[in-house]
């Protein structure tokens, strides 16, 4: 981590000050080690708790959307429900099928959770709160995120169960399909900011236009389109509804989780939420200005609080979408990725290039610039969406 800058008020520097106070007396290498361990512990504690209460929030919000109260018995208004669930999961019997590959069956949840946690390392949570400062942290993030697909297939393969294997195949098809639009929606950001470092991207989004409109990527035509593509792909990457085909309960028992019980199951669950948090955190960093305040007058609120607010807003969006949209069919899913999101993301790259080339235009040309960029975003969207559903209805089903 970088040393605290001089501008910040005490609250802004509090995490770093606290850490320095704890490890200040240690000699060089030991202090580095202690700093890292404290960072890891803080990350695990924060995201572990976030996971716990996110499950509760999800159940409560889903309940409210379905006009029922959700869990409200354990603790104050159900506040202790996640811990009761955790204890239940921990004390359940861990069943490994006799036909399963025991090593892979054990390694799959471990690998999944490990790769999920790795992605947390490079997200800038606040002004000076980056666990690992990498020059190519975006590459690292998406590489670690993509590795979770391996663990999902590992789980399906090692379970020796037809449903699990079928689901793992689906998961691979889905995750690889959506990896492309996910990455291609990030490339314009890299192109515009000229850096692969997450902190660099946040630094590039500093400042305000006319002192009220923040210079976030999402407030450009190509940024808005990229944000939407990124979030749709993130939904698919984290196996969330409406892209929850790998664990479609009504079709595949529980997908690759079929043969998992007890704490291993809980780890898969945790990894799903960690993946969701990491991708949302990256979306905040890339498109929503990272930890930056939306208005100059609101800068007194610490940067990590802004990051948390934006992250929570995106996570609530995930829950809202889950409560609304039904699951896609596998052919609809892959068609959406390959015939819609991928071309849109490619066109978006061109839009971003046009936007950065026309940065110097002024006066009436500014209007031309906006019109052209918006046309480049909306035009392909309309054209491609027309082709998305054509020739597909009515669908004839043939049964074997």
């Amino acid at each position: 981590m970088r040393p605290a800058t001089t501008y910040d008020p005490l609250l802004e520097r509090a995490p770093v000050v606290l850490r320095d106070w704890l490890t200040g007396g240690l000699p060089g290498p030991a202090r580095w080690l202690a700093d890292s361990l404290i960072t890891i512990a803080a990350l695990l504690a924060v995201f572990g708790l976030l996971f716990a209460f996110l499950t509760l929030a999800e159940r409560k919000i889903l309940g409210r959307i379905q006009n029922r109260p959700g869990p409200n018995r354990t603790g104050w208004g159900g506040l202790l429900q996640p811990f009761a669930d955790g204890i239940k999961m921990l004390t359940k019997e861990d069943i490994v099928p006799r036909a399963a590959d025991p090593v892979l069956h054990f390694l799959a949840p471990v690998a999944l959770i490990a790769f999920s946690i790795l992605t947390f390392a490079v997200i800038p949570y606040g002004r000076d709160l980056v666990p690992v400062e990498l020059d190519s942290s975006l590459l690292y993030f998406f590489a670690a995120g993509a590795a979770t697909e391996l663990a999902v297939f590992m789980a399906g393969w090692s379970s020796h169960n037809k449903f699990a294997l079928l689901a793992a195949m689906r998961a691979l098809a889905q995750l690889i399909s959506y990896e492309l639009p996910l990455l291609l929606s990030v490339v314009p950001v890299v192109l515009a900011t000229g850096t692969l470092s997450a902190t660099g991207v946040v630094a590039a989004q500093a400042g305000w236009k006319w002192d009220c409109l923040p210079r976030w990527v999402v407030f450009t035509p190509w940024g808005a389109a990229g944000f939407v593509i990124f979030m749709i792909s993130a939904l698919a990457e984290s196996n969330r509804s409406p892209f929850d085909l790998p664990e479609a309960e009504s079709e595949l028992v529980a997908g690759h989780l079929t043969e998992y019980s007890g704490f291993k199951y809980a780890l898969f669950f945790m990894a799903e939420y960690f993946g969701m948090c990491a991708l949302s955190g990256m979306a905040v960093t890339l498109f929503l200005g990272g930890w930056r305040a939306p208005l100059p007058a609101l800068e007194f609120i610490p940067s990590y609080a802004w990051f948390a607010l934006k992250l929570l807003a995106l996570l609530l969006g995930f829950i809202w979408i889950r409560a609304t949209l039904p699951r896609l069919r596998i052919d609809q899913l892959t068609r959406l990725a390959w015939k819609f999101l991928l071309p849109l993301a490619l066109v978006n790259l061109g839009t971003a290039a046009f936007w950065s080339l026309s940065a110097a235009w002024a006066g009436p040309f500014q209007l031309v610039r906006w019109a052209a960029a918006l046309g480049l975003v909306v035009g392909p969207f309309l054209l491609l969406s027309r082709g998305l559903a054509s020739g597909l209805a009515p669908r004839t089903y043939r049964y074997a």
Partner: protein
């Protein structure tokens, strides 16, 4: 345009989410052990025995152990043993009474046939649903002490049906009184007027003449 349907769906869920906080018609969950819904009058599940008085339920059971319900019960969950002696019923008339009357609620299928065949309106459907016990053999086999509930309770849970029963019983009493009066007409006038002042009369239409004349 593609995507508008998604936005409409999101609006619907958002409306439901917000509505559940301020619209009681949307948010209908009852927090069961603490709150209770008012059961509809037509709700009925297991049979109970009607007694005339709450103070002496065993002495005032309407049941005369005719065993029709026992024979008609499809799953055969009713057990009745007739008494050897006779006891005066609510009207003072000597009747056989059920020495044993038991219903196995774990077998009962709540078909209400016992209620429909009973000529004495002595068995009716109850509204209790919290019948869980820790003892599944003895606990669900209800004896006559557990089954007996006063007529006032029946009036409370099924007012409409109870009013009908009340009217039928009153009509039966009136018919019996008229019959008794007709039988007592050759005799002295005071003897005929005696039974009419007794409020609880014979239970059913074909009941014999009032006790005053029978004795």
């Amino acid at each position: 345009m593609i995507g508008t349907g998604l936005l409409k769906g999101l609006a619907v869920t958002a409306r439901n989410f917000l509505g559940s906080f301020h619209d009681p018609r949307r948010f209908v969950t009852t927090q069961y052990p603490e709150e209770r819904t008012v059961l509809p009058e037509a709700y009925r599940n297991f049979p109970f025995l009607v007694s005339e008085s709450a103070d002496d339920p065993m002495g005032t059971l309407r049941c005369v152990a005719c065993q029709i319900c026992e024979k008609e019960c499809p799953p055969q969950c009713i057990l009745i043993e007739k008494s050897a002696d006779k006891k005066p019923d609510a009207n003072g008339k000597m009747q056989i009474y059920p020495a044993v009357f038991a219903i196995d609620t774990s077998v009962c299928m709540s078909c209400q046939i016992c209620v429909e065949v009973c000529p004495f309106d002595a068995i009716k459907m109850d509204q209790v649903f919290e019948l869980a016990t820790t003892n599944r053999f003895g606990g669900l086999l209800l004896d006559r002490e557990a089954l007996a509930k006063p007529d006032s309770y029946f009036h409370r849970i099924h007012p409409t049906e109870a009013a009908e029963v009340e009217a039928r019983l009153a009509a039966g009493r009136k018919a019996a009184q008229d019959k008794a009066r007709a039988a007592a007409a050759p005799k002295a006038a005071p003897a005929a007027s005696a039974p009419s002042v007794q409020p609880p009369a014979a239970p059913v239409a074909e009941a014999p003449p009032p006790p005053g004349t029978a004795a």
